[in-house]
């Protein structure tokens, strides 16, 4: 019995099967192998947390309201102008801060810091709280892959199980309350915080807009690609770590922009 053998039977364990239901040789290996023992403990905890989160997989609306209120209080965002022929969006609109001429770093864009933190937190949330066992055991890999492709290529307003909802959240981690699906087959529209990010860059450092846009698209594509893979292979812990890494890359991009334009 090797670590690989244990990993093959982990979905059964994660599905809530008691330890007693596992083959003796698996239990013996887990008992003798600290790495596998730690892995099993961690995955049990994740599965337990995920079950508790099933009813509230998205942060409460008040979270977004409080963030928006804070940004509005700082003058970094404003409510949309009424009388606009388009339906007024319910989300805040970014307003550039006037240029400071007395400093080499002329612009204030510190709002990117909480946004970057939110990106990272959202990534962490998606990676660590996704209810793996249900996906892993309710569908075969083949049907799971097909389902994931369908979910990503065809936007549908019909509610889908929690794992797919979490998948969508990964592409729109902040200010995203919509239930529209991620369109990973084509380039999706920038999320709200990405639009704010690019708006700030284009206003305050226009020469860098294209560069940051390209980098942002690349990072978002990495996140979507990895998320789709994780959806199809929920037990692949290394892929999950790569998903976390991809979110960290996005946070890094925001931080670099923050340093550049503040």
């Amino acid at each position: 019995m090797t670590c690989s053998d244990v990993e093959r039977v982990l979905p059964e364990l994660l599905d809530g099967a008691p330890d007693g239901a596992l083959p003796e040789e698996v239990k013996a290996h887990v008992k003798s192998c600290p790495a596998c023992s730690d892995l099993v403990s961690d995955l049990k905890l994740i599965a337990s947390e995920a079950r508790q989160l099933a009813a509230s997989e998205e942060p409460a609306p008040r979270v977004w309201v409080r963030i928006a209120a804070q940004l509005r209080a700082e003058g970094l965002i404003s409510d949309p102008v009424t009388g606009d022929p388009e339906p007024a969006p319910s989300r805040p609109v970014f307003v550039p801060v006037p240029e400071r001429t007395s400093s080499g770093r002329r612009w204030s864009a510190w709002w990117l810091a909480p946004v970057a933190a939110a990106v990272l937190a959202a990534g962490s949330y998606v990676v660590t709280h996704k209810p793996v066992p249900q996906v892993a055991t309710q569908q075969t890999p083949a049907t799971l892959g097909k389902a994931a492709v369908t979910a990503t290529a065809t936007p549908s307003p019909v509610p889908v199980p929690a794992p797919q909802q979490l998948t969508r959240k990964s592409a729109k981690p902040a200010f995203s309350k919509s239930a529209t699906a991620v369109k990973s087959a084509v380039e999706p529209a920038p999320s709200e915080e990405d639009q704010q990010f690019l708006s700030a860059v284009s206003t305050l450092a226009p020469s860098m807009r294209t560069t940051y846009e390209i980098q942002l698209q690349a990072v978002n594509a990495d996140i979507r690609e990895t998320q789709a893979y994780v959806d199809r292979n929920p037990g692949d812990m290394d892929a999950r770590q790569h998903l976390m890494d991809a979110y960290q890359q996005k946070a890094l991009l925001y931080q670099i922009a923050l340093d550049r334009i503040q």
Binding site: T2, T101, Q215, Q249, L253, I256
Partner: protein
């Protein structure tokens, strides 16, 4: 015959006109260059410091080069490309802050300041430039180098932390010993030659990671990319515990690895390998999502 003569005249006139245009362009270029050269200003500053000084240099546009000098003095040479930029200096005890200060109307050309800084070898250094290049050499203190587009070069440093962060700027580390190395880049390539220490951690999204060295003794080496390739070259007598996995890419290994009972990755032919060489003094983890991983024997 008449038409031939007329054609010759036209060609002569054309040559004359081209020459005139050429001279005009050259005059304009020359005047521009002379003006730029005239506007360029070189300023020198010096500060007295004690052991373990802390020095930061921050410029929006321009190169920063740091080298060892006197153990009790910091010497700064700043080359300002125009009068649209100033240099701010501040000393608080052992801490020195040097920053470019853009004035109204400054752009990437006129706002450029190049810095050459001589510092005590044991000083802690923080460098930031959007455009770079950034370089530090022959130092022993902690180094932090950051710049979105900056090319970063670190060479012949030891015993300090080396932290580098870029967006797409390429990063080169040469002869870094006993360092705590952390490198993060979105799309910049990372090239390491003879880099060793207790921790060498490199993360690049789409950039390539290249390592040529012996992986030291007793260190953790973690190289991660998303789409970029990873290539590591080590001598035959290396002593390391290797683990490599590419989720969607291919892996290749030249070393005869001794199998391990436990591994952080499940074995997948062509996509992962793991095992030890020698006494497994260091741990080496190579991870990529879709890049190719290659471990080569020198």
């Amino acid at each position: 015959m008449a038409s031939l003569h007329s054609a010759s005249l036209r060609q002569a006139n054309l040559r004359h006109a081209n020459f005139g245009q050429y001279m005009a362009v050259m005059l304009v270029l020359g005047a521009g260059l002379a003006s730029a050269a005239f506007a360029q200003t070189k300023k020198e500053y010096s500060f007295a410091v004690g052991p373990n000084a802390n020095i930061s240099v921050d410029t929006q546009y321009g190169a920063i080069s740091v080298r060892p000098g006197s153990s009790t003095q910091v010497m700064v040479t700043a080359t300002l490309k125009s009068d649209k930029v100033e240099v701010d200096l501040q000393q608080n005890g052992n801490r020195i802050q040097i920053a470019s200060h853009l004035l109204s109307g400054a752009d990437e050309q006129t706002g450029q300041v190049d810095y050459e800084v001589l510092i005590p070898p044991d000083a802690t250094v923080s460098l930031h430039s959007s455009t770079g290049p950034l370089s530090a050499e022959h130092l022993q203190g902690d180094l932090t180098l950051e710049g979105p587009d900056a090319m970063v070069n670190v060479s012949n440093v030891e015993n300090g932390h080396v932290h580098v962060r870029t967006m797409r700027g390429p990063i080169t580390l040469t002869d870094v010993r006993n360092g705590h190395v952390e490198i993060a880049s979105i799309s910049g390539d990372v090239h390491m030659q003879s880099v060793s220490g207790p921790l060498v951690q490199v993360n690049s999204g789409s950039g390539k990671i290249f390592y040529d060295g012996d992986f030291g003794s007793g260190g953790d080496y973690k190289f991660t990319t998303h789409t970029g390739d990873i290539e590591a070259v080590a001598p035959a007598d290396v002593s390391a515990d290797f683990s490599a996995h590419s989720v969607l890419g291919r892996v290749h290994n030249d070393f005869p690895l001794q199998p391990k009972q436990h591994s952080r990755f499940s074995f997948e032919a062509g996509r992962s390998f793991f095992g030890t060489v020698g006494k497994a003094a260091s741990e080496v983890v190579l991870r990529s999502f879709s890049g190719r991983i290659r471990l080569k024997q020198r």
